[in-house]
Amino acid sequence: MLEVKDLHASIEDKKILKGVNLEVNAGEVHAIMGPNGSGKSTLASVIAGKEEFEIKKGSISLDGEDLEELAPEERAHNGIFLSFQYPVEIPGVSVTNFVKTAINESRKARGLDDMPANQMLKLIREKSELLEIDRKFLSRSLNEGFSGGEKKRNEIFQMAMMEPKLAILDETDSGLDIDALRIVANGVNKLRSKDNAIIVITHYQRLLEYIVPDFVHVLHDGKIVKTGGKELALELEDKGYDWVKQETVV
């Protein structure tokens, strides 16, 4: 589904990604771990199409289509969803209004009419129940005054509403309390199918106990330096990153 080949990306002449290779197939869950500043969020942003980053070399494709020429919203229309590490606030725009706009804009791009209001309401009810979100919450301004955990849960609510083909969850677990982590992970698992794929960026093994990955990658200094199965995450928790760093040097 997603193919990242020898990807090099920079911002203001600062090299951040230095040759990333990653292949994600439908039905798979991939975890990306790695030290702070190693380029995980950058990789997610570049896949989503953030224009500040310049692709110096390499390619990204989704279902065989090269993404380079596509604007971020077109990538979203093609089914890419990014749960942000730091979701932004949009004062005065309610969660409901925002999600409604997002869904209808994507439908428009596919040549469909707006989703009928009753269908939209039903979907909102269903997904907010799945993620145990109080409906009053949905009429608040997007992310304004939300707690860290509320922001993350709201990201996954949007994901549930939009049913993406490829979801990238950037540290969705940070900020969630123990119960919330279980609820959110459970929600994500319900959305898994043989047709979609998920990339989970995380620092902690804990989330991976709930959302069990098929592959775990370690990103270090802009490169994937190690790939393994779910046990790799445990090993990392045990030994820390120095161990992989040393291995790469050898």
């Binding site: 199409g49 971020p72 969803f81 942000f84 005065g92 925002f98 706009t101 301004s141």
Partner: protein, 481 residues
């Protein structure tokens, strides 16, 4: 009165402008320039009584000795007042025979606003058949108002038919000598609207909603007078979301509102004068004086959405004379390209327990300058006066400016005054976040701007609010990217 449909159609055809507040005088344009003869001439053309002519002349004499204000934060080439013609007959003749002849860019904007083909024709000045639909609306409208004793007509008609009301109230809130443009307007006003709501009557509809299409060609010097008698209520809509192109560069209107004891006036404006092209050429100068007077327990709310004009200078104000009276001002002012706006309000607290609220939202894009100027004045006898002001500015890009000039004059220690101001910028992160959810940049900006303006949009009557939203979207098109 029972009409057949055919008769209705006839009546509307022949009286087309009765509801549009245009005078019927057949005449050519007056020569350029302004002097006493011209003022007398205008009054004569309109067959006004002598007291009105005198009133105008007095205004003219005052104006002659006044200077144009320099204090607003705007720069423009001052109009040459001797190079303007102060009277021209209303032009009822269609400018075009079909829509094909109209500027395609203008039509495109109409379409985006969702204006029907018939309305498009009217607005652009294309010959149009009377549609059955509007006939019935107009008739129902007229009947309902008459039954309640509501007077809603042109100011010229009111001068003829209700001189006692006009004489008593015109200039009572905005005196002729108030300011340069008010004096000029008082001397030469061409037309405008008049509205009187009798005691205890609640006007059952938003006044002038339907007349939107007829207001396309509003005059250069309009005069509006709204009187809400004791215990009455009226919601009045002014303006038009469709872009008004006008050969007249200078517009100087005066609006006076009088809310007697326990009365309430809600006055909403959506203004979209031609702002000039992308280089800033050819826009309208809009210098307006709007003021309302509140007697005991009365309330006046001004709500405005300003997107047009090259230069705007406008401060809808409230004089809170009666005890317990309330003044409100809700405003969205958008400037783009080279537009300049200096707008705000004045809340003058004279009575006890008077309350005022000011919510101002300024949105600047391009190379525009957007200033808020507000005065809150509490008189020495105004015990327990309260004011809350909030001025928020939203900037798009690095080349525009937002300025806030709050003036507070308090002469009574019991007053409670609160002022909050914020400035924010539409961030790239916000845009990217929207983009990532499938919302393109244009739509993202519209969403963010609507969110920013929500408190004010919510104050507009429903259908006006929907139009105003679309208008905001259009005004900011192409402002980022």
């Amino acid at each position: 009165m029972a009409y057949t449909e055919e008769e209705l159609k006839k009546e509307l055809e022949t009286k087309e402008y009765e509801y549009g507040f245009y005078t019927d005088i057949e005449s050519d344009t007056f020569p350029k320039g302004l002097n006493e003869e011209i003022v007398i001439g205008i009054s004569k053309k309109k067959e006004e009584p002598e007291w009105m002519t005198e009133w105008r002349l007095e205004a003219f004499r005052v104006w002659k000795d006044m200077e144009e204000p320099e204090w607003p934060n705007v720069t423009y080439q001052k109009p040459d007042f001797q190079d303007i013609s102060y009277y021209s007959a209303p032009n009822n003749k269609p400018k075009y025979n079909s829509l094909d002849e109209v500027d395609p860019e203008l039509l495109e904007t109409f379409k985006k606003l969702g204006i029907s083909v018939d309305e498009q024709k009217k607005l652009a000045g294309v010959a149009v058949d009377i549609v059955m639909d509007s006939v019935s609306v107009a008739t129902t409208f007229k009947k309902t108002l008459a039954e309640k004793g509501i007077i809603f007509c042109s100011i010229s008609e009111a001068i003829q038919d209700h001189p006692e009301l006009v004489k008593k109230y015109i200039g009572s809130v905005v005196p002729r000598k108030d300011n340069f443009y008010a004096a000029l307007n008082s001397a030469v006003f061409s037309d405008g609207s008049f509205c009187y709501i009798p005691k205890g009557v609640r006007c059952p509809m938003e006044l002038s909603t339907y007349f939107r299409i007829n207001q396309a060609g509003t005059g250069q010097f309009e005069r509006t007078l709204v009187i809400a008698d004791e215990g009455s209520y009226v919601s009045y809509l002014e303006g038009c979301t469709a872009p008004s192109r006008d050969e007249n560069q200078l517009h100087a209107a005066v609006v006076e509102l009088i809310a007697l004891d326990n009365a309430e006036i809600k006055y909403s404006t959506v203004q979209n004068w031609f702002p000039g092209d992308k280089e800033g050429k050819g826009g309208v100068f809009n210098f307006v004086t709007k003021r309302g007077l509140c007697e005991k327990n009365a309330k006046i709310s001004w709500t405005q959405v300003e997107t047009g004009s090259a230069v705007t200078w406008k401060y809808p104000s409230c004089v809170l004379k009666g005890n317990n009276s309330i003044g409100e001002f809700y405003s969205i002012a958008v400037t783009n390209n080279f537009q300049q706006a200096d707008t705000g309000t004045k809340m003058i607290h004279l009575g006890k327990n008077t309350k005022s609220t000011i919510i101002s939202k300024g949105i600047s894009a391009g190379k525009s300058q957007n200033s808020y100027r507000g005065l809150v004045q509490v008189n020495s006898r105004a015990e327990n006066a309260r004011n809350f002001s909030q001025c928020d500015s939203l900037l798009m890009g690095n080349r525009c400016g937002a300025h806030t000039f709050p003036y507070i004059e308090v002469k009574n220690k019991s007053a409670q005054i609160e002022h909050e101001a914020t400035t924010s910028k539409i961030g790239e992160d916000q845009i990217f976040y929207c983009n990532q959810r499938g919302i393109d940049t244009e739509k993202a900006i519209a969403l963010i701007v609507n969110g920013f303006s929500k408190e004010v949009l919510n104050k507009l009557p429903m259908e006006f609010a929907v139009e105003a939203q679309k208008l905001l979207e259009i005004s900011l098109e192409g402002s980022v990217g």
